[in-house]
């Protein structure tokens, strides 16, 4: 004979705390803190010198932007491998605008960069959404094509730091209240994106499409339009990152941004965005980006030659997806047990 037991109403604070502690993002944050602490013990300059603190925040800012865009696309069950080439093109556009149109206001250049990125993203999105071809293949092709266009346009020229206005370059290194401007921009974008993904209908629809595209379609969601928006957003964010890249590094050749797509996907995957879509947050992707680049900078200080960076990234990706899988299996098993229990 089963007795009806009423479960005590859970304490909201404790549940909240529990969710927070178990969240993937928290473990990334902890890992990040751990890396910083260990490295700072070895070499206090890592955190406590003004250069060190500035570089800690500055270097990942560009990747954070790209990782946020990539996360949005991955959540809809696609992927965008062309972000590296897009960044290269927009960075070069930035340089070219400053050289060819003297006296152009910085804000115009920023908008132009975002616009170019959005257009490139639109091409990707249109091909994926309308031709219904896997994003992997399309963005593989555009990765080649955009990079080729970049090289064709640039020829063997380079944009030199001396070609660009000083105040633009200054943006790349200036800080407000000892937080670099680029980091502030990245944070603002991150908060906006996170709010959009969680609190607006459009954002929730991304998750729906990623979880089960067929169901989303049947439910009446405008899948095509949403996928277009996702790719355009990714492209626009990468465009902005390209402008910031120009400000930070100053010298832009036709190879700028090569290989960035791998780092962006890695950041998202490590940050908890499932490669099959439907789960994960942009916070996670951003933290993943910061963790990745901080490890890169910490390795030489810890005595590991920086040649091993790539291997560390690879190991982290595999670790992250295996962990995700194990957690998903455990989750399924738990749900099954709960279902079996409730049948008694």
């Amino acid at each position: 004979m089963s007795t009806l037991t009423t479960k005590p109403t859970p304490n909201a604070l404790l549940t909240g705390l529990g969710t927070f502690l178990r969240a993937r993002e928290t473990s990334i944050l902890l890992a990040l803190v751990l890396v910083i602490v260990v490295t700072t013990i070895k070499n206090p300059n890592f955190l406590f010198s003004s250069d060190g603190f500035r570089d800690l925040l500055l270097t990942p800012s560009i990747l954070v932007l790209v990782a946020v865009g990539q996360a949005i696309v991955i959540i809809t069950r696609s992927v965008d491998l062309s972000v590296g080439s897009t960044l290269g093109l927009t960075a070069y556009l930035t340089g070219r605008l400053f050289i060819d149109v003297p006296g152009i206001p910085i804000i115009v250049v920023v908008l132009a960069g975002i616009a170019l990125g959005a257009v490139l993203g639109l091409v990707n999105g249109a091909l994926v959404a309308f031709a219904k071809v896997p994003a992997l293949v399309i963005t593989l092709g555009t990765l080649y094509a955009y990079r080729g266009i970049n090289v064709l346009w640039a020829g063997s020229d380079r944009v030199n730091a001396s070609d660009m206005p000083k105040d633009f370059l200054h943006l790349g290194t200036t800080s407000y209240f000892s937080i670099p401007l680029l980091t502030i921009i990245a944070l603002v974008v991150l908060v906006a994106a996170a709010w959009y993904m969680r609190n607006t209908r459009g954002g929730r629809e991304f998750y729906a499409i990623g979880s089960e595209p067929a169901a989303a379609e049947l439910y009446g969601l405008k899948v095509t339009k949403r996928i277009l928006v996702a790719f355009v957003a990714c492209g626009a964010l990468t465009g902005l990152a390209g402008v910031l890249y120009a400000a930070r590094y100053g010298t832009i050749n036709s190879q700028a941004g090569s290989g960035l797509e791998l780092d962006a996907v890695a950041a998202a995957v490590i940050g908890g965005v499932a490669i099959f879509g439907g789960s994960g947050t942009v916070w996670g992707a951003a933290l993943g980006a910061v963790l990745l680049l901080t490890i890169n900078r910490a390795l030489p200080i810890l005595g590991v030659p920086d040649f091993w960076q790539r291997a560390v990234v690879g190991a982290l990706i595999i670790g992250a997806i295996v962990l995700d899988r194990l957690l998903a299996l455990r989750q399924t098993r738990k749900l099954r047990e709960t279902r079996n229990d409730s049948h008694e």
Binding site: T142, A311, V313
Partner: protein, 350 residues
Amino acid sequence: MSNTVAAAPTRVYRDYGQPYWRRALVTRESGIIALFVIVVLAAIVGVPYFDQPITMTYLLLDVAPILLIALPMTLIIITGEIDLSVASVVGLSSVLLGTLHQAGLPIPLAALVAIFAGAVGGAFNGFLVTVVGLPSLAVTIGTLALYRGLAVGLLGTTAVTDFDPFWTSLAKSKIGDTGVPSIMIPFVILLIVFAVVLHFTPFGRGVYAIGQSSEAASFSGVKVQRTKFILFVLAGAVAAVAGIYYTLRYGSARGDNATGLELQVIAAVLLGGVSIFGGRGALHGVIAGVLLIGVLGSALRLANVTSDVINIITGTLLVLSVVSTSFLVWLHKKQPRNRGIKDGSHAAKA
């Protein structure tokens, strides 16, 4: 009850509506082969210095790694998976060959170790995909970074270049006076093996079945997981062989050898008519795809066109070929055509 027994069914198999010769000749693969022939002819006519025997020699020497890796990659894509880590295995085997050579090991022994390492790498991929159940895209993105990282980590950015000229000239040697590089011999052997396996063995039929529907294949008795695992191991081993060739041909073992090769292989495979969704494709189309991209590259280089225009063309070709498939499928569906049985056996149901 109706005793109407239809006359002995005239045809119980599907009627394709086209004569056999048309079905055999007008396929996706023959489209690519035709395109390839046209491009070659155009190059011979239009590009100076193209029609020398040495052009073919350099072309084949250049695309040999892609040809080799395209073989197992075709099978993997037909099963609906993908392997992005092949270029990193090439780099890793290159580095292993270099470091072992520096340590004094004779080249054949070092090569065997490198091939074994490639197979282990492929097995790791296979394990994660089949046993742990992870999507191959994510796994191979991870191993792409991991294996490349190991390669660069082992050797740094230096290169081992003091290989015995015997081996480097062997890699570039040609068969007699024909101008065909000797690497084509092992390639053709592998090609025959893969073609036979794919089209004439149950294993190969299983590969197609998995691509169409792995559940149905599993219920039909195909050992899905084992098949996929074997394919990944093969991909790793063949990539390692390509890596050894690459190292000896260029005389340089570097951690970042062949970066980006996986994209060229996948582009060629998809161009050659293999569907990214799995379940269809054939090797002759893939060979034509590889050679097409190779000829385009060779011709454009000779015409002094920058090699990155070649990249634009490769990228656009890749996108066009996949989009055109989708487009044609869409057109196909739009046609109100009788795709069912056209003969009289329907009448038997009445």
